[in-house]
Symmetry: C2
Subunit: 474 residues, 2 copies
């Protein structure tokens, strides 16, 4: 394996992956890296450069797609001989044979597995087909004016329903004018990032790597702050030098910690210390709290003039393929938002906006949620009991029972997380180890712990699943 | 009116509007600008600073929303007294009375006018309600797997249909893997901008100001290049120092020029001169060519390994509120796209993707287009004849008859564009003058010329409209 000399400027205008990509291209072109050279592993290089693994992965994938590198399964990335280079200096746009085309990316889910414990899915059998379909039909035949452009932040009656729902169920304090409807949380995160400019953001570690990636793609520098028993550490936040703080206070992903009020107050105090500081609250699955009413949102504690930008999605409560999410902007950011994005057309089809609006206003949504909550609670309980039965209650620790839609399982004296994940896959169970959500400091990750998403599991599979895991791990 | 000293750095990391905003804030805080001072007009300041009017407008709107400035109708922007300032130094997030809330933005269209000749609309009465509704219902009841995540670039069968449609009707040369489906052209433009990084783009002048704004919001610096009888000037492009070129070659907006093949070849040669140069082809309404088949797209001339990023929308051919657009990436950008955005969820609901897919595959779309084309051709002809009848054929020049969905009208010896627009509005006709699409060099704009969008006009209104304009202008 070769030794790389790469110098990245984390304060620079270019994203880190781009800097790394360009540095490697120039080393390959100059001959410093030769055909057949094996590049360092992604984790190793990420550690050496103190960047996210994703940064290195992005640069490597770009180089592979462009023919500089070759990815060999289970061996890593190798420099290709120069004959393989695209003719970058004198591109004549030849019609290359289709075989050269980059492959379509594979989805990271593994649908071929027998049991799916990934965390992205939902139980689509619970979807309210009849009601949703009836509302859609009524709208299509009865409301032709929905073919015209609607309000750019989202149709006003929908935003009114959302404001009322968020107030009643999440303690969000906002007016209709603060709500922006958009085609998914990822889209809205990108807007926030561009609105706030090239700031530095603190992100949770372990945490939701995709949010970090989106922020970084949009020009936000991210610093990892570790999670303790109260969620994101306030001291860590202070020390991070960040002016934006991305958190999941209702139900931290993936450790399932709910942030206590004292910590929430610390976060709000941090934001108040300097103008221009904001907290980005991602309330991604707070609808599924099984024991008590969830804590009101951090946004509600801060108030409508406060520093919290609140995000919520209908991916989990309706379906991932219905692309509706919403964001609540602080009053203090509204002028800036309208100045920058005020003339962007809304990204959600008005028929789907209005279907959701009636689904909310006619009370279907709260009934649907309470039905889903009860199904998921039953499934979580059945899964927990089956696992305790299979392994013995004294041999495992289960965390995250109060809020959905995943559990953390720790196997006492287990064979190590990596072995657990591998053995589970061989037994037909798709799941991820907790350490995969650590963007740095993996050595501090609790041992023998895996993440079990149960939303798309079928109830009748649970006994066989528990047995398969027990056989795989003991 | 006060004299401003502002120094902007067009190569800087911060967008120009942000630099201008910050400069004005500091001048207000320092007392260099005093309460009651009137700021220069937007156009005057934009001319003085050599930036787009939109840049100045954005900064002014931000300052107004935050209470630094007050907008007085027909007089401009004035500095507010310091009592009106928000407490930026020590924000305590008080619950301010709702009366302080920034107003919801108004749509720029004027629905109260009797005749709507704006260019954003379509004739929604032509929408194929029955077919669209039947397909939607079939999918909702018959394809529950559509509730799950689909392919991140868009469902594969939809992309296959799009590739075939674009090949057959627009001469686009692409494989399924090059297509990205997204919730509107604005969203896709934002992705392109982030993909290419902080490049400099040449944009058409006159041209579509919103595209320029989106590019600038996403970190792309824009340089205006003037339009001649062949569209965007190749010499102007060369001189602009740009590495990205945004064009509407099929039907330039708003001058209606179709770019000839020789000019297209020049643009492709320009792109070939340097690696990393791209052309962004916005094929926003090429479906509505009335005389002959439209020229094949520039993308097709360049080929799938060529330098053209192709954008098209279904806003005009279906409805603005159905948010589906698509982009064809050059093969050479595919690896980079997948590395950066490959894991972003698609922004279009899968039910709408699949509805469009069946609408295309079952032949409804081409039938629908040919029906619309015939209605719009009839409307354009009726409008042209009514105008010639009202004004006398020798007194007006009409341009843009071959391609939809707007005409340019020049009134010989007219009272000046500004007077024409004002008189039309007083007579109940909403329209814009051609000079409003000039981002700079308005003095070169042809005189007495207005833009007439006829897509959302009703046929029976045409005689009264022509008469109203004739009375207003003579």
């Amino acid at each position: 394996m070769v030794q790389l000399t790469v110098c990245l400027d984390s304060g620079g205008e270019k994203p880190l992956y781009q800097q790394l990509y360009e540095s490697l291209v120039s080393q390959i072109r100059s001959g410093a890296l030769k055909a057949g050279d094996r590049l360092p592993g992604k984790r190793a290089l990420a550690g050496q450069l103190a960047v996210a693994v994703n940064t290195v992965d992005t640069a490597y994938q770009m180089l592979a797609a462009e023919g500089y590198l070759e990815a060999r399964p289970r061996s890593g990335f190798f420099v290709l001989e120069s004959g393989g280079f695209p003719a970058v200096e004198a591109p004549a746009f030849p019609h290359r044979p289709a075989a050269d085309a980059p492959q379509e990316q594979e989805d990271e889910e593994e649908p071929c597995q027998r049991f799916d414990l990934s965390t992205g899915g939902v139980d689509t059998a619970l979807f309210p087909f009849r009601t949703w379909g009836r509302i859609q039909r009524d709208l299509l035949y009865g409301e032709p004016e929905l073919l015209r452009h609607g309000h750019r932040q989202g149709d006003e009656n929908l935003r009114r329903e959302l404001a009322e729902y968020l107030r009643a169920y999440r303690g969000v304090d906002c007016g209709v004018e603060q709500i922006v409807v958009g085609a998914g949380v990822e889209y809205l995160l990108g807007l926030v990032a561009r609105l706030l400019g090239p700031v530095t953001a603190a992100v949770e570690n372990p945490g939701y790597d995709r949010s970090r990636m989106i922020l970084e793609n949009s020009g936000v520098r991210c610093r990892c702050v570790s999670i303790d028993e109260g969620g994101l550490s306030a001291e860590g936040l202070e020390a991070s030098g960040a002016d934006l703080c991305y958190v999941t206070p209702s139900h931290h992903f993936p450790t399932a910690v709910t942030m206590p009020v004292s910590r929430r107050a610390q976060l709000l105090r941090w934001a108040r210390q300097r103008p221009g500081r904001y907290i980005l609250e991602d309330d991604y699955d707070a609808e599924f709290r099984f024991d008590t009413r969830p804590l009101p949102s951090l946004q509600g504690m801060g108030g409508r003039w406060g520093p919290v930008i609140y995000l919520c999605t209908f991916s989990k409560s309706l379906a991932p393929s219905i692309r509706i999410a919403c964001m609540v902007l602080p009053m203090g950011l509204l002028g800036q938002y309208q100045a920058v994005f005020g003339s962007y057309a809304n990204t959600v089809s008005r028929f789907e906006q209005q279907t959701l609006c009636r689904f909310l206003s006619q009370g279907h949504f709260t009934r649907h949620l309470s039905r889903m909550r009860s199904v998921y609670r039953g499934r979580m309980t059945a899964l927990a009991e089956a696992l305790e039965g299979a392994f013995g209650r004294e041999n495992i620790v289960l965390q995250g029972r109060h809020t959905g839609l995943h559990l953390l399982l720790t196997l006492k004296n287990g064979p190590g997380e990596e072995n657990m994940v591998r053995a589970a896959r061989q037994a037909g169970v798709a799941l991820r180890g907790l350490s995969q959500y650590y963007m740095e400091g993996r050595e501090t990750c609790p041992e023998n712990t895996v993440v079990l998403g149960y939303a798309s599991l079928r109830d009748e599979e649970i006994p066989a699943l528990a047995e398969a895991l027990q056989r795989a791990w003991t």
